[in-house]
Assembly symmetry: C2
Homo-oligomer: 319 residues x 2
């Protein structure tokens, strides 16, 4: 990140025609964009990347929807019929969908690791390569029936508390399904207890291809100087292993929203990420991230377009 | 409001390609827009109306800024240099500024009513007439040095608790200023104790011209079938007398955000309004309202543009 640009942005904020601090999070975002947004300091080229994957853990009855819905929703994305298509359009963002081996689900991680190292790294690389140089902002999202179970298992492996702390209702699981989901997570944590010290092994063992791709895309954005909007619980769990490896690994990201999915607020707390929106959404697809794009544009527009007290001839606060 | 349109919207929500309820507040907004948005069901023509007024209560030392800043900021709005200019542009909204007798401040309401009935009704009418037929959405905002004291006094008069409950730091008041602000409110409440049963007398006695205009504009929007986004503490206090007169008077409005100004969260609670955004903003000018416009467009776009399960060939949740 560019600390000099951030300091300059902070100094400019104090001169603009408003009481100091009165734009709240918009001021913080302006400084954050200065630090992570590169030289262009524009938000014209915004990509919404959706990664899709299928999950062997669905065999444990952890979702009310059949696994076939993953591919059906990818088709829906490609035909423009999903929520994210509308949200990307309203936010003047480009939607790109990357389906990852949908007809080869990951393994059921109550029995064996979801992915071996090769499969994990391949998915990380696909995410890495999906981030295009010259993009001003990347919104990350996912689709994958069963993937809130994978996300909850990652969170439990990284932060403790088991299925009881991290399992949520996902797309709308009933009470008996919730029992199965918590049990699957706890079974898997016990089976793979030996690797809970290694964040990347956790990502491979409990995660999924779309989560691995989100991790890879987040790394790519860091290396290419592109700020990132994270979406909900699954997206946040996907990048949490990076924060466990290195405390500042997510500094170029913002949590676009806090989902209604049970574990998300606690996970954001573990990561010290403050969500921008809190609207009871729990859809995934990058929907919360896309929705927050205009707020970032608003923060940037205020920062660059406002007059200073001196320019506008407005009396400042006496000291 | 159109209850049939709202019921139809609710029924359509259940058919769209997402788990039921997973768009959270966006689903509620879509139904609310169906009820209050009239036949057009568009959000193309959005007006941001800023009303500006000056306040005799500034004689009590309740603001760190001089009263001259009101007119200076109106000039800043007209020259495009304020935060709201940038925010309106990002939200593709038209900014219109109505300055109300700036060189004739209201009376100091610790001594006498801020406005007599004629002055109050004139300001209400100016607000009423500022709402143009054919507008799809109105965002309301204000500018007026001293007006958080007026707003706090209205809230105290309507809901009790005195200056201690409702006074906030406004543009950045220090501790001694806060003592003066609380005292001014409590003095005024005692002086005008005889009229605390009449919500419109409260609006005239403790309010200001820009608050009266906001009240008038909110009435006009209701009569013309135009939904309204309310801004922060001052804007909310300006319309609170309407809710006291009639419980459903604000049903065509949404609270765009909860301000960092101390009393706003409690006031929204009294009015049972759930804010859309919570970003620590406390600028006024309609800034929070303008910022929320893309969220309403997003809700409408999802509602009208998404495919149904049947259209997209996506398997629904088994029952």
């Amino acid at each position: 990140g560019n600390d000099a640009a951030a300091a300059e942005a902070l100094a400019r904020q104090a001169t603009l025609t408003k009481p100091p601090g009165s734009l709240g999070r918009l001021e913080e975002i302006a400084t954050w964009l200065a630090k992570w947004g590169g030289a262009s300091r524009r938000l014209d080229r915004v990509d919404v990347l959706i990664f899709a994957g299928n999950h062997g853990i669905t065999a444990q009855g952890v979702s009310p929807y059949p696994a076939a819905v993953t591919a059906q929703m990818v088709a829906n994305f490609n035909h423009g019929g999903a929520a994210i298509n509308q949200l990307a359009q309203v936010s003047s963002a480009t939607l790109r969908v990357v389906a990852l081996d949908l007809d080869r689900p990951t393994a059921d991680f109550t029995l064996e690791p979801a992915m071996d190292e090769a499969a994990f790294l391949k998915a990380v690389a696909e995410g890495y390569n999906a981030v295009r140089a010259g993009t001003d902002l990347v919104c990350l999202g996912e689709m994958g029936i069963g993937n809130t179970t994978a996300a909850a298992a990652i969170a439990a492996a990284l932060y403790g508390g088991g299925g009881a702390r991290w399992a949520g209702r996902g797309t709308g699981l009933d009470d008996r399904g919730m029992e199965r989901k918590r049990a699957a997570i706890d079974t898997a944590l016990a089976r793979h207890a030996g690797l809970l010290g290694d964040p990347l092994m956790i990502a491979a063992t409990f995660g999924g291809r779309e989560l691995a791709a989100i991790l890879g895309a987040t790394l790519a954005a860091r290396h290419r100087g592109i700020p990132v909007l994270l979406d909900g619980f699954v997206c946040t769990a996907a990048v949490a292993p990076l924060a466990k490896l290195r405390a500042d690994a997510l500094d170029h990201t913002q949590a676009a929203h806090v989902s209604a999915e049970a574990g998300h607020r606690a996970l954001l707390g573990e990561l010290k990420l403050q969500p921008l929106l809190d609207l009871g959404m729990r859809l995934g697809e990058g929907s919360g991230a896309a929705l927050a794009v205009p707020m970032l544009r608003a923060a940037l527009a205020c920062h660059t377009g406002m007059a200073t007290f001196a320019e506008a001839g407005v009396a400042g606060k006496p000291h």
